[in-house]
Amino acid sequence: MKTFGVFVKEVRTTKEITLREFCRKSWQDPSNWSKIERGLIPPPKSKVALDQIASALEIEPGTEEFNTLIDLAAISFIPNELLGEEEILEKLPAFFRTVRGGPPNEKELEDLIELIRKG
């Protein structure tokens, strides 16, 4: 069965709604919402929030998509685990831009790895 996050992301990308547009319309924080779509934190449960999400996704109340959205939000949430070392190692970037312009130092690399791990 699909999770809430996977369902929302599928609807969002099928309708060509960017993360920015979606978060602006649904009053969600993009960083948190990205975690919800990836199953790291639970979806909102309140009716107000779910109505805003449905509206941002252009889902009409009473439709099958609307009922699926509400049902998936109500299912008890088991978070995806944070990335283990093996998964992290597959994702670590070859290139990246530092704010100051030069290559990162050891401390910046360690901080970066921690940020990627926590998502």
């Binding site: 990205s34 070392e85 290559p103």
Partner: protein, 206 residues
Amino acid sequence: MNANLVPERLTWPAIWYKAEEFRQRYVDPVDTIPLPIEKIIETKMGLEIRPIVGMKSAGIEALLLNDLRSIIVDNDAYLDERLENRFRFTLAHELGHLMLHPDITKGLRYRTIRDYINHRLGQNTEDLDWFERQASEFAGRLLVPRVQLDNFLQLERDRIEIYLKSPYGSNVEMLQVSLSRILCDKFGVSDKVIQRRFISEKIRFE
């Protein structure tokens, strides 16, 4: 053991060709400006833009994960509308790595986190800088296509003529700065990106 990261010495025209290929493939109509870069990344390419809190505090502006599926950005920069043009360039720069350097990325395998850190710290700074310059050149040409830039400069022809005949006429740099401020919002980039285009593309105003 991973080898050192050594960039292929791509010419600027070779990079421009890649940027134009990208537009042909993903942008409809192909000459759209400003480029709707987030829509293209998320809905045409199926990649993820992942805002993370604290990236900038860790000294990192943005990066492309090695699975080539996700671009990580700083959440505050993502939300700050004043930085919108700069942010668009940041995304285009990461696309530059994806389009120009995928084989380098795919070839990397690490056994431990320490391996990664040591490998990254052991790289030649000049070589790493070449990768970054190539990605930035791709980004600049992608966001500011030459044909549209020439068209806008043609529209500014009278202003350019007046400037060139003025007592300051020999100071081309001042003209570049002035034109870049007029043109930057049309392309959705900073004035610095337009100035860079004038230099990279060797645009003359006489």
